[in-house]
């Protein structure tokens, strides 16, 4: 698939190493992504990387929240308004939160994992009547590393969502929670036996979150994780992202815990 040219409309510095780009199609437009899907973004002349979609406008404007970790992401993060980048996709299996209709929905985000979950949160809010309790747990390294702070504060101010934010360490001025995000699962006011949980963050955090959710009674088939492992071609061809029998790029990145548990608990050789 050939990448389509997209123009950078806005660039927002979220954190010291993380940027959100809003990009618009120049001519042809990609299909609208579903929450949890990703696109391959091209920094022309350098390379391409898979980046989850963190936002979507009605006119096809995409939002991608990118952390600078290598040459391609560094280039993308350095993009200026008006620059052209390439995009192909969308790819992968998304969150599909429709299947949680009639249940409580618990969203657990760790670090940059909030970005792939943002679109799911927005969809849940746009269809709030479909779900029972809606709860969001967010963990971050420290207060300065929290993503989408203004939005978190807005969501926290609503009467129909429970939002808990916690950090791993904080300065004396912090008035919020300190502790690992998994600790707050126990006190989330949902009916665990009738809850769907969607989780995204570092793999270790997702593993412990899934185990904790299952311990509290969330059916393992109703716990969904977004995996990320060396996705290159995005179409299940190159094999770089293969994880056991699964291709993360096309069989995922969203998987139920029942399909991931054995492999995630196995030690790497």
């Amino acid at each position: 698939m050939v990448p389509l040219p997209y123009r950078v409309l806005t660039r927002h510095q979220e954190l010291t190493d993380t940027v959100t780009l809003r990009i618009a199609p120049i001519s042809k437009r990609l299909a609208d992504p579903l929450p949890g899907q990703y696109e391959m973004l091209w920094a022309f002349g350098i390379g391409e990387v898979p980046i989850s979609v963190s936002g979507l406008d009605d006119d096809g404007v995409l939002e991608h929240t990118i952390r600078s970790v290598g040459a391609v992401t560094k280039s993308l993060c350095s993009s200026k308004v008006g620059d052209i980048i390439g995009a192909r996709g969308p790819f992968g299996i998304g969150w599909n939160i429709d299947r949680a209709t009639g249940q409580d929905l618990l969203i657990v985000a760790g670090g940059l994992g909030l970005a792939p979950l943002r679109l799911a949160m927005l969809e849940a809010l746009a269809n709030r009547h479909r779900y029972g309790r809606l709860a969001l747990l967010v963990g971050a390294r420290d207060p300065e590393s929290l993503l989408f702070v203004e939005e978190l504060e807005q969501w926290r101010g609503r009467f129909d969502i429970d939002v808990e934010v916690t950090v791993d360490a904080a300065p004396p001025s912090w008035r919020g929670n300190v502790g690992v995000v998994t600790k707050f699962i126990a006190r989330t006011p949902v009916d665990f036996s009738n809850t769907s949980a969607i989780v995204c963050g570092p793999e270790v955090m997702m593993r412990f979150a899934a185990l904790t959710l299952a311990d509290h009674g969330v059916p393992p088939g109703q716990i969904y994780l977004s995996m990320e492992r060396n996705m290159r071609c995005a179409i299940g061809h190159c094999g770089h992202c293969q994880f056991g029998p699964e291709f993360i790029c096309k069989d995922g990145p969203v998987f139920p815990w029942t399909r991931m548990e054995k492999m995630m608990l196995a030690k790497e050789q």
Binding site: S145, W174, V178, R187, G201
Partner: protein
């Protein structure tokens, strides 16, 4: 009005205790309230109580030169503040402050240690519960140590 025994029996750590054991424990407890901002204890002070939190929020912090008191954990309702009381030299190893107005049951450490020595059934239940508490805290601390959210790109 609920007694100390009733309140202890509602707490997740002591919920499984036999009522007689709760009655024994309750004799060491009394209600306390901390206003927001109140220092509950400081590192090095005698750990002569621990606190069964009922409402509010408290911080656990470590004084670090040039950084002030770094907060490493916060605790809320249905949690317990203080795990230094069972072990000599019975001194606090961290600082704690009430972040919000906080109500708790303060348990006299020497009273409870004495009762645990005299009644092995009580001692076993109390130490089993605290072992679970410390195991959960250790697990959480190890996750925090991993700095999972840091940018570990090569």
């Amino acid at each position: 009005m609920k007694t100390i025994r009733d309140l202890l029996g509602e707490h997740q750590l002591f919920r499984s205790f036999h009522p007689d054991l709760l009655e024994l424990m309750a004799g060491c407890g009394h209600n306390v309230h901390f206003e927001a901002g109140k220092q509950i204890f400081s590192e090095g002070e005698p750990a002569d109580e621990f606190y069964v939190l009922r409402s509010g929020k408290v911080s656990i912090g470590i004084a670090v030169p040039h950084r002030g008191t770094v907060l490493v954990e916060t605790l809320g309702p249905n949690e317990v503040l203080g795990v230094s009381w069972p072990f000599p030299p019975y001194r606090w190893e961290f600082d704690s402050r009430a972040m919000d107005p906080t109500s708790a049951i303060a348990m006299d450490a020497e009273c409870l240690r004495t009762k645990c020595e005299e009644d092995p059934a009580l001692g076993y239940q109390v130490f089993k519960s605290f072992a679970l508490l410390m195991r959960n805290r250790l697990q959480a601390t190890r996750l925090q140590l991993l700095d999972l959210y840091g940018n570990h790109a090569g």
